[in-house]
């Protein structure tokens, strides 16, 4: 009998083409907004996760200050103390690379005015492994022509931020003084200067970007040289760890954190999974917010369906009377009208989903084509099957629910009154 009711309902929908079209359009706009906005949110999520996995890979985690993953940290990196040997001794650890940061007195050579420019500057010691094994972390540190990056085995050399180089008045090949703790001091030879554009470039260029406070006023020196100036202390900014094949990165990270904490280090081990969780949580809220906004238009669409169905019931009062006279029970009438409004909802949902996905695809395409994203960032177009199924069911439900009230009114109409209706 359901098939017959479906046919009856479909014929009623088709019999009133314009009105049905308008009701479908209302639902369609609502669904398109929901699907479009949520899909764009999902694309954003996929883009961010893609970036994380690009930096981390499957075998890498980082050690950071223990407050780093708290909301209160606001993403500001704090220094911490760490024993590199303990970390290297943790089962499953393959390579360890660290970044230490201090503030040092630096002094350039004599300038034309007979002065030796000097000042206190942040100095970062970079493990050579950072450059060889964790290149994704550092990004492609673009240097001005003529320079080179820090390599394994380098001592008493430095790569300078463009600001430092200018203030100290030194170029590639020149040397300058870096003073560390006590009487520790070295004369470092400048081997490279960061290209200016690099510094205020993107947010995802490893240490030249958002992962540290590095900027044009930072002095980068090899880790071994850092050791000579200052003993290891409460000056670790970040430590990257690569695990041996066959080890689960989360297990190794847990072991490392436990081992380091046992020695009093205030650290936390962060895997790509941890970061993805944070992204998921954050974007989850954004998606709920976007979905909520779009849902408003969906409700408006539902009210449109309700209006259409009330008109339809009123207009077909006599039909209801006739159907009841020839043997239709209340539930038959209810079913016919519910299916009719459900069909309007589902059809609107179908078309709306297509439009919504199209909207999201166009936005992704436009961002990828015109927005000139740094570092090869791309917004993948995401068509979530779960979202599509839920939306289609939801659209049918919205149609049916909106039709419930009018349909009940039609179904409960006394047959004699309905037959008399003109």
């Amino acid at each position: 009998m359901l098939r017959e009711f479906l046919r009856l309902a479909a014929q009623n929908v088709l019999h009133r083409k314009l009105r049905s079209f308008l009701a479908v359009l209302g639902v369609c706009i609502g669904i398109a907004a929901v699907v479009g906005l949520i899909s764009i949110g999902l694309s954003l999520q996929a883009m961010m996760k893609g970036q994380v996995s690009k930096v981390f890979g499957v075998d890498t985690f980082v050690i950071m200050d223990q407050d780093m993953m708290n909301r209160q940290s606001h993403g500001v990196m704090k220094e911490f103390a760490l024993d590199m040997e303990t970390l290297r001794g943790v089962e499953g650890v393959k390579t360890v690379a660290a970044v230490r940061q201090r503030t040092a007195f630096v002094q350039g050579g004599m300038n034309a005015e007979g002065k030796m420019p000097q000042g206190f500057m942040p100095v970062m010691g970079l493990s050579p492994e950072l450059l060889t094994e964790f290149s994704a972390f550092t990004g492609d540190l673009a240097l001005e022509p003529g320079g080179r990056n820090i390599q394994v085995g380098d001592v008493e050399v430095a790569v300078l931020g463009a600001d430092v180089a200018e203030r100290l008045g030194v170029g590639v090949g020149a040397s300058f003084l870096v003073a560390g703790e006590g009487k520790n001091e070295i004369r470092a030879t400048v081997i490279g200067i960061l290209a200016a554009s690099e510094e205020d470039g993107g947010d995802d260029r490893g240490f030249s970007g958002g992962m540290s406070s590095a900027s044009g006023d930072t002095v980068y020196i090899p880790y071994a040289t850092m050791d000579r100036l200052w003993p290891e202390g409460n000056d670790f900014l970040v430590t990257a760890v690569k695990t041996l094949p066959g080890y689960e990165v989360d297990d190794v990270a847990d072991r490392a954190e436990v081992a380091l904490k046992a020695e009093g280090s205030r650290v936390t081990a962060i895997t790509s999974g941890d970061i993805t969780d944070v992204i998921d949580e954050m974007l989850g809220y954004i998606n709920i917010f976007l979905g909520g906004l779009a849902a408003i238009s969906l409700v408006v669409g539902g009210v449109g369906v309700m209006n259409t169905m009330f008109t339809s019931v009123l207009e077909r009062t006599k039909d209801i009377g006739v159907m009841k006279a020839v043997g239709a029970k209340n539930r038959h009438i209810l079913a016919i009208f519910l299916i009719e409004s459900g069909l309007i909802g589902m059809f609107g949902g179908l078309v709306g989903t297509v439009f919504g996905l199209g909207l999201s695809a166009v936005v992704c395409w436009a961002l990828n084509t015109f927005a000139n994203m740094p570092g090869g960032v791309s917004f993948p177009f995401v068509a979530s099957p779960g979202l599509i199924v839920v939306t289609l069911l939801g659209a049918f439900a919205i149609g049916a629910v909106s039709g419930l009230w009018p349909a009940r009114r039609g179904a409960r109409m006394p047959v004699v009154d309905a037959l008399r209706y003109e």
């Binding site: 009998m1 017959e4 009856l8 014929q11 009623n12 088709l14 019999h15 006599k318 039909d319 009377g321 006739v322 159907m323 009841k324 006279a325 020839v326 043997g327 239709a328 029970k329 209340n330 038959h332 047959v415 004699v416 037959l419």
Partner: protein, 228 residues
Amino acid sequence: MRLLHLEGVTKDYALGKTIVRALRGLDLSIETGEILAIMGPSGSGKSTLMHILGALDTPTDGTASLEGHDLLKLSENDLVTLRGRKVGFVFQTFNLIQALTAQQNVELPMIFLGVKRRDRLERARYLLEKVGLGDRVAHRPNELSGGERQRVAIARALANDPEILLADEPTGNLDSETGATILDLLKRLSVDQGKTMILITHDPDAAAIAHRVVRLRDGRVVQEVRNA
């Protein structure tokens, strides 16, 4: 055999705050196979009587039975099923569903009784042939003339092979020539198929095909004439 039996039937309506008594203690019996015409001026209670005879409505008081079923004791759903099986309606204004074709209109009563699709199609076509619309099955009501529409309505009334055909002013919206052919058709079908027919009418021509004519006034039977 007594098919329909009413005894002391009253029917009250609330019209705003006043109660209108449409039927005032009406007695009427109808035999199987009989053609009965019910006549009377407007407001005499014809329509109300038709609703009760067709199990569309129940009396306020009195007894009413159809094939021995006490109409006052049936639930609403049972009443629907009973009229779906036992009564076929023909209305003055045809009351076809505009969105459906002639054939689908005839199928409708069978759908609600759960008749299988194949049987339904076959019977709808058979009945439309029978009323002379074999070539009009796919037309919608607005593509048919008044006489044709009433033929579709008659085919629909016969769909579930009911005991009773209840026709409310079946010729009221038709010209006299078409009206005559419709009356002819109704009479032929009821005789052929052994149906009991109740005609509610103003039209003396319509009353002329009946075995018995009952006149109503003020909600009571005031005259009963048996045609020769």
